[in-house]
């Protein structure tokens, strides 16, 4: 099994190694921070000309998740587009691919700080500020319990940096799903304040749970080691 099932706010949820969250009871698939059109936005602003393939790479991965879970609803948890203009400028091929993925299911775009405006009419689904079904889905963590994105949490495991879910009592924070997205370490004060204790789930070759404790650094296991 490569996924990790856990309980948050009384609901059984499934963390997937891709960074997507699946809610089996409702068959909802939730992804955060796709940042589609990021390279285009950077170029527009006179920055570096990054390889313009990240939108395709993100869509390829999202398509695979939809195929694997066949969700009734897909929720993009904000910052689906790197900015509103990037959303509007998406090439037709990308819009068609998203239309095809949305075929036969509901699709919700939660607004994020990068994409507060209107939705590109060539795209499927509706925009909502947040979604409250007992459990609240929003872009940035607020009054919990809620499921959110925004911070791009990351952790280090065996010397490797990887994206992760971060789950406490009040907040479940998803990793960024987009390809060119950085990350914020889970021991950063901002994330520590939101989730002082609980669990992180690393997105490795499988979803690996790791405890998050209130100490300054997670306790390290003692290993036997040859003396250098």
């Amino acid at each position: 099994m490569t996924t990790h099932d856990f309980i948050f706010d009384g609901q059984r949820l499934q963390a997937r190694p891709s960074g997507a969250l699946f809610w089996p009871e409702r068959r909802w698939l939730i992804v955060a921070d796709l940042h589609l059109g990021k390279s285009e936005r950077m170029a527009r602003r006179g920055g570096a000309l990054l390889p313009p393939y990240e939108t395709q790479a993100t869509l390829d991965r999202l398509g695979a998740e939809i195929e694997a879970t066949d969700p009734r609803r897909v929720i993009s948890l904000g910052d689906g587009f790197d900015d509103d203009a990037a959303g509007m400028a998406l090439p037709d091929s990308v819009c068609h691919a998203l239309q095809a993925m949305a075929q036969g299911r509901d699709w919700t775009w939660i607004s994020g700080n990068h994409d507060p405006g209107a939705l590109n009419p060539r795209l499927p689904g509706q925009v909502q500020a947040q979604m409250d079904v007992g459990l609240i889905f929003r872009h940035e963590a607020g009054q919990g319990p809620d499921v959110s994105g925004h911070f791009h949490p990351c952790l280090r495991l065996a010397g490797q940096r990887m994206r992760c879910f971060l789950a406490g009592t009040d907040h479940l924070i998803l990793p960024a799903f987009g390809a060119y997205t950085g990350g914020l370490a889970i021991d950063d004060p901002v994330l520590r304040a939101l989730v002082p204790a609980g669990m992180a789930i690393a997105c490795a070759h499988r979803a690996i749970p790791v405890p998050v404790t209130t100490q300054a650094a997670p306790p390290k296991p003692t290993r036997t080691r040859r003396r250098a």
């Binding site: 000309l49 990054l50 390889p51 060119y180 650094a217 003396r227 250098a228």
Partner: protein
């Protein structure tokens, strides 16, 4: 130009005679390259024509001096001020480095000094100003100091591109290169774009020998600690000694060992690139003031200010490279006409052979060095973008100008066009940026689409891409800074681990705000002191000498008796490696089969060979478990024996492995990061930008993987692969090894051979495990869960 009487008088008043090379440089008409040993009055020689010129009035900047070290510019300014004052010359000399105040920089744009002292990066920055034609238009002379050091890396390539620009702006300019002794002066002159070579008298032969030690060198290891007391005895007899050690970690350990034996409390300092700038400057100042009897140093002291009092150099560990050894010996230059004194301390038995071979090479003045490859294209991409910062340019004119630069004299139109396309559009197969091109072609000239981009581009100037470094500080408010370690090293530390930095053992407490916090832990033996992953490989020529020495028993009387006996035993039990033959051995040891390959190709190439050969062994079902590489040999252990190594050393299979398997290797990703940063695809993490940590920049690995998947022919990947043939991956030396080995000589043995025995003791074993990373992560997570009482 001849030496005017007032200059001749000045020399006489100092009690000096001008050196012949100083006069020769004055009389030369075109570009020149002066090859002179340390202490040969090189700098004065370089400036003499300028001073003579400036005895007459001149408008604007007359001479530009470029040095690889900021510290050197300040030193030169001081040294020049004396003759200038003595001669009553009205000359303004200023330096311009990253440390120069903004107000002074602004003034230098409007009112440049007569002589400007700067670094390659600051020169590149100045050339990107719109005002560059005015600043440099009247330039008469350029002096390039320590050119041998600059020519070793991309800083030199960038400098040569800038030089071509300067020559276009100031057609009257004359260039003088100053260099320490090098193996190929004509090659270096070609690097400058052509110059007349002037050789200074190299001075008397150095007094150089192995340091006699009380105990013989150990079988393996690299520390040289067995000789600490012998080294101390030498330090005691000399006035000032520099003790060179190859790596920072070894320098730390040796420094600790020498202090443990330093019963007389001789003042001995430590100097290496991981120490904080303050710590290094303290040591340099103490050295200049004559307060130190010795400094334990790494390559950080290879260049720089001459300390006249140094009368002994001790090299601990194999020199790896004859040219560098000679340059280091030259640091003991207390008197120009007295021989430099140097002693070498091999760290182990293999290095005894290497040191003997190196001494022979020094006596025969046979210097080594790899021929330079063509100018790298990532540097050209940066140059094109910076040229656009200065103003619109014509592509054909720029192409012609770039080909005036030595390293780019064979640049093809296709490669230039690819670099220009990268700079303009990103150069992707998917044309995504038609509206947002970085450079636009208008009225036949290329220009920046958005002039605001100049700021980012200028911030990204330079070709030195540092590994991500983290500061190390004592815990607590305002803790003393100790130095820096590589982020990858910090990532391996666990709370309670101990390591050495700045000569003290410290305990790792944690990472806080991107600072490594430590506490003092004097009593404990340090766990590790490894914070620089890069190790220099023994040069090709020196490796050949070592192989030839081993393979020729008639030469073995030149070796210490214990080493000669060891080789004789190898000859009886197995066979001695020798030129023209690639010797391999298979033998069982402790339940594993071992394969030793005596490739003499340097540790980087042999490490790559280890990765490639174990891959083929895995496919052949031989169950390789791991390998290690030294400069001379590769040792692979496996469950099943290798009975015929020929298929493992098949050139085509190895090449195929390089493209396919190595493409995913971390070494390649590191090369890509450097290339992409220099070319301007990704921006450096500047100090202060990382601390906020908020959604920090994504890693360059993601770009690398994306390009490999969606655009495998992209220019950045092509440059990365080209670089992999040299440097860390060093595949060219694997090819060279195969070229010079006419045949294989494979021996099946029933036990470890004498030559292989020391290999068994070496550190740096690389385990082969496809899913090793994953298993490590699983194990660590499971342990954390168990610790937290979860399952």
């Amino acid at each position: 130009m001849t030496l005017p009487p007032r200059f001749q008088d000045w020399f006489t008043r100092q009690g000096w005679q001008p050196h012949p090379h100083q006069i020769a440089l004055l009389q030369a008409t075109g570009d020149t390259l002066l090859i002179a040993p340390t202490g040969g009055g090189k700098t004065l020689a370089g400036f003499l024509p300028t001073l003579v010129d400036l005895a007459e009035p001149h408008e604007g900047m007359h001479t530009l001096y470029v040095s690889p070290l900021k510290a050197l510019t300040a030193d030169i300014a001081r040294n020049l001020s004396r003759p200038v004052a003595d001669l009553g010359l009205d000359i303004r000399i200023e330096d311009r480095t990253g440390d120069t105040r903004a107000s002074q920089r602004a003034r230098q744009k409007i009112d440049p000094p007569d002589i400007l002292l700067t670094t390659p990066e600051s020169l590149a920055l100045m050339l990107s100003y719109e005002q560059a034609p005015r600043i440099f238009g009247g330039l008469r002379r350029v002096v390039l100091d320590e050119l041998h050091a600059l020519a070793e890396n991309k800083r030199g390539d960038q400098l040569m591109l800038c030089l071509a620009r300067l020559k276009a702006l100031a057609p009257e300019v004359t260039v003088t290169g100053l260099s320490a002794t090098v193996e190929d002066p004509q090659g270096l002159a070609g690097f400058m774009g052509g110059a007349q070579v002037i050789d200074a008298d190299p001075g008397p032969d150095p007094d150089i020998a192995m340091l006699p030690t009380t105990n013989p060198a150990p079988w393996a290891g690299g520390g040289g600690h067995y000789a600490v007391r012998d080294v101390l005895a030498q330090v005691k007899q000399a006035t000032t000694t520099i003790i060179f050690i190859n790596t920072r970690a070894q320098a730390e350990l040796f420094f600790q060992a020498i202090w443990a034996a330093n019963d007389d409390n001789l003042p001995i300092g430590l100097h290496h690139g991981s120490l904080s700038r303050e710590a290094r400057q303290r040591v340099e100042a103490a050295m200049a003031a004559g307060e130190l009897r010795a400094v334990v140093a790494t390559g950080s002291l290879d260049l720089g200010i001459d300390w006249g009092a140094v009368d002994l150099v001790i090299q601990v560990g194999a020199p790896k490279n004859v040219k560098r050894l000679v340059q280091r010996i030259g640091r003991a230059n207390h008197r120009y006409n007295a021989p430099s004194r140097a002693r070498i301390v091999p760290a182990n038995r293999f290095e005894v052979i290497e040191c003997t071979a190196a001494l022979q090479a020094v006596r025969e003045r046979d210097l080594d060095g790899d021929p330079r490859g063509p100018g790298p294209l990532d540097v050209l991409c940066q140059h094109i973008l910076l040229t656009a910062c200065a103003g619109p340019f014509d592509a054909d004119a720029l192409f012609r100008e770039v080909r005036e630069a030595g390293p780019y004299r064979h640049l093809t139109q296709d490669d230039f066009d690819a670099c220009l396309d990268f700079a303009a559009t990103g150069g992707y197969a998917l044309r995504a940026y038609d509206r947002w091109q970085r450079l636009m072609l208008r009225d036949g000239l290329w220009r920046l689409r958005d002039p605001r981009a100049t700021r980012d581009l200028r911030m990204n100037i330079g070709t030195i891409v540092e590994a991500e470094m983290l500061k190390v500080r004592f815990r607590g408010r305002g803790g003393t800074p100790l130095g820096e370690v590589e982020e990858s090293f910090a990532a391996t530390l666990e709370s309670g681990d101990t390591f050495l930095i700045g000569g003290q053992t410290v305990r790792y407490d944690g990472l806080r705000d991107m600072v490594v916090e430590v506490t003092k832990q004097p009593a404990r033996e340090p766990k590790i002191a490894v914070f620089s992953g890069l190790k220099m490989a023994t040069s090709t020529q020196l490796s050949h000498r070592v192989q030839a020495l081993i393979g020729d028993p008639s030469q073995h009387d030149k070796l210490p008796p214990d080493t000669a006996e060891w080789l004789a035993l190898q000859g009886r039990v197995s066979v001695l490696p020798r030129p023209g033959v690639l010797v391999t051995e298979s033998f069982p040891h402790q339940g594993r089969w071992h394969l030793a390959v005596y490739g003499f190709a340097g540790r980087n190439a042999l490490q790559t060979l280890g990765l490639l050969m174990t891959r083929v062994m895995e496919e052949a079902g031989l169950a390789p478990l791991g390998f290690l590489s030294t400069d001379y040999a590769l040792l692979i252990w496996s469950l099943d024996p290798v009975t015929d190594p020929a298929p493992l050393l098949d050139r085509n299979a190895l090449r195929e492995g390089l493209g396919d398997w190595l493409g995913r290797n971390a070494v390649m990703k590191r090369s890509f990061r450097n290339v992409a940063t220099i070319a301007g695809l990704i921006h450096r993490n500047l100090p202060g930008q990382r601390k906020s940590g908020r959604q920090a920049t994504f890693s360059s690995d993601i770009l690398y993987d994306t390009l490999r998947r969606y655009d495998p022919d992209h220019l950045m990947l092509r440059i990365t692969t080209d670089e992999a043939r040299r440097g860390l991956v060093d595949f060219d030396r694997i090819e060279e090894m195969l070229d010079r080995s006419d045949r294989l000589d494979h021996r099946m043995l029933d036990r470890v051979s004498p030559l292989a025995a020391p290999l068994m003791l070496e550190k740096g074993r690389v385990p082969i495990a496809g899913q090793g990373r994953e298993r490590l992560a699983e194990a660590e997570a499971a342990a954390l869960m168990a610790e937290a009482g979860l399952t």
